[in-house]
Symmetry: C2
Subunit: 354 residues, 2 copies
DNA sequence: GTGAAAGCGCTAACAC
DNA sequence: GTGTTAGCGCTTTCAC
């Protein structure tokens, strides 16, 4: 019996079910299910008949039914600020790919870096829809995460929240910042600015990239000048441009910029051009993320290159481990590798033509 | 009765069901369902009691059950070449946003512009998982689409396949190409190259942007020189760079490039820089897509700006219309607006500081 | 090795 | 305005 339902609009919806296959093959639905899933052995002849029926009728399992029965949905959410940031687009692609390998579908949620939206996601407003959550928080602090009551497994990525009972996958942001700063020091820069600090400094006293910046200054015996730290509302090119313009009005402007991410760095370089400030001669620029854009920008962008595929796949692996119970030890900080990639924005044209 | 299930891994999965609410509020499940969905009127007092029970117990509907019952999944797929192309990332964001408004979840599928993968998607390898499909084909031709047998509603976006029985949402690519070409002609260019033609010219005899290019040449009374048309394997920055290098080896190189998209244009500008070719003085460049990157590139990029939000929202609207039967007229070509945005890559620094 | 049947949570048809 | 119940397709327990 092929179910033919007529939707409200009069469209025909045909679904081939286990029952249809069972009837066609002259066996019970349980047997068909066992052929499909392989949970129990099935006789060779029977299996063959079922296979043929499946081929002929074109069966594919109904996920809603399977999930209803199994108490899960097969969907995990990836909550990121925005897809429009190439870093997150690349990360999303890696995550989707990896989740697909495990039979999971990825639902993308955008927080726009908005605190309320992040809280919503964290409190599991997708309850009953998703089996688990990978969250890249921008605004949430430790307390917010500790206050979470939802039982939906969650994995955190990115550089902010620490000391919470969730797996956390990221590169060593402090070490990465140190590497970026050391590079700027190595090429002789001494007045190094940071663009991309958080607005609400009280609630979010520090993030690791900024911490790394300050620490590197200290290590180098350089003074910390608060005027050289630019707070931005968002993390886009526009913010980077505004940041650099602001820095250039200082009585004693910087000779280098360490940007929170590549987009900010690219915005800063754009503004520098408009102001007639030469990169890297007047101001050297280092970004963070290694998005493709920075390989083709003019000048090309020196940056920290995190292992995005690694973050995506480790996050998925951790989450699915929790979902399936194969991972029930206590939460872990998982670090993936990074590299400093030096290009024209710090080294100048030396690199061209290689 | 709160269902508490223990997963294979020993995790507790608590689900609050309609039944739980019904018991708590002392009503039937039907009444609770009606309060939740509003299909039938419910008495004020009853409604209030149910509401409270829902609040207290924290009910949220089980989508799998709902969808099993309703014969649909609430999921639509958006199949695009890759998220890594900012154009598609922006489009995806718009699509997700719009679908969310209608209560649909978007599943992103990547084809990588691979013909086999596109065919797979088109043949509905997600049968039973998705209710409908928005496809942006790169390789499929008319016949491929006509051969489709799946009954899952589909909407096409992009500039390729025409004359098929599916809604198709796009800008007027021929007109847009004409506008881009006219601009290059207006600034005095006469040897205009095209980068980003399709490799398999036989199967895919022409795409609209290339057609628009040729047509514009004809209209302007300029000769068509096949050497000025560069075929690329993909549509990335790398392909644009290779394309420009190839063009510059010609005995008589172009004085302008019309690129299939912004990424190719940006790659071309990158290669120009390496070769010491000045943009726009030696070669003017026009792209297509208006991705953010082009607003901050050096030089900034003249481009065709399609209404991405419009494409996303119209595609979702069309598809959902088909799904719900509110749209059962015959397939339509739906055009959304576009604009030519002129920047430094054709006008030079005239534009800077404003 | 195979079958019968319960039941996951929900909506809607049918009663009252 | 409210309650009862069948059944969506599946997995799994219990029989044989």
């Amino acid at each position: 019996m092929t179910t033919v339902r007529v939707t409200s609009g009069g469209n025909l919806v045909a679904g081939v079910s286990l029952k249809d296959i069972a009837k066609r093959a002259g066996v019970s639905v349980a047997t068909v299910s066992n052929v499909v899933n392989g949970y129990r052995p099935v006789g060779e002849a029977t299996r063959e008949r079922v296979r043929r029926a499946i081929d002929e009728l074109g069966y594919s399992p109904n996920l809603s039914a399977r999930h209803l029965r199994g108490g899960r949905t097969g969907i995990i959410a990836l909550a990121i600020p925005e897809l429009n940031n190439p870093y997150f687009a690349e990360l999303a692609e890696a995550t989707i790919r990896e989740a697909g390998k495990h039979g999971y579908i990825v639902l993308l949620d955008h927080t726009n870096g908005d605190r309320d939206k992040e809280l919503l996601v964290c409190q599991d407003f997708r309850a009953q829809v998703i089996d688990g959550l990978i969250l890249s928080p921008v605004q949430l602090d430790r307390t917010d995460v500790l206050n979470r009551t939802s039982k939906t497994p969650m994995v955190l990525i990115g550089e902010r929240v620490y000391g919470v009972p969730y797996d956390h996958i990221a590169i060593d942001n402090t070490a990465a910042s140190a590497a970026a700063m050391q590079h700027l020091l190595d090429i002789g820069r001494r007045r190094i600015a940071f663009i991309g600090a958080q607005a609400d400094v009280n609630r979010q006293p520090a993030h690791l990239r900024l911490l790394g910046y300050r620490k590197a200054l200290r290590t180098a015996g350089l003074p910390f000048d608060p005027h050289l730290v630019v707070t931005t509302a968002q993390f886009g090119r526009r913010d980077g441009a505004a940041g650099l313009r602001q820095l250039m009005t200082l009585p004693s402007p910087p000779d280098a910029v360490f940007a929170y991410n590549d987009l900010i760095a690219i915005g800063a370089m754009h503004a520098a051009r408009e102001l007639g400030v030469a990169v890297p001669d007047d101001v050297a620029v280092v970004g963070f993320d290694d998005i493709d854009e920075g390989r083709y920008s003019n000048p090309t962008l020196t940056t920290i290159s995190p292992d995005k595929d690694g973050i995506g796949s480790r996050a998925v692996a951790s989450l699915i481990g929790r979902l399936q119970g194969s991972r029930d030890d206590r939460p872990e900080e998982i670090q993936v590798p990074f590299a400093l990639v030096t290009r024209q924005s710090t080294l100048g044209l030396d690199l061209v033509h290689r």
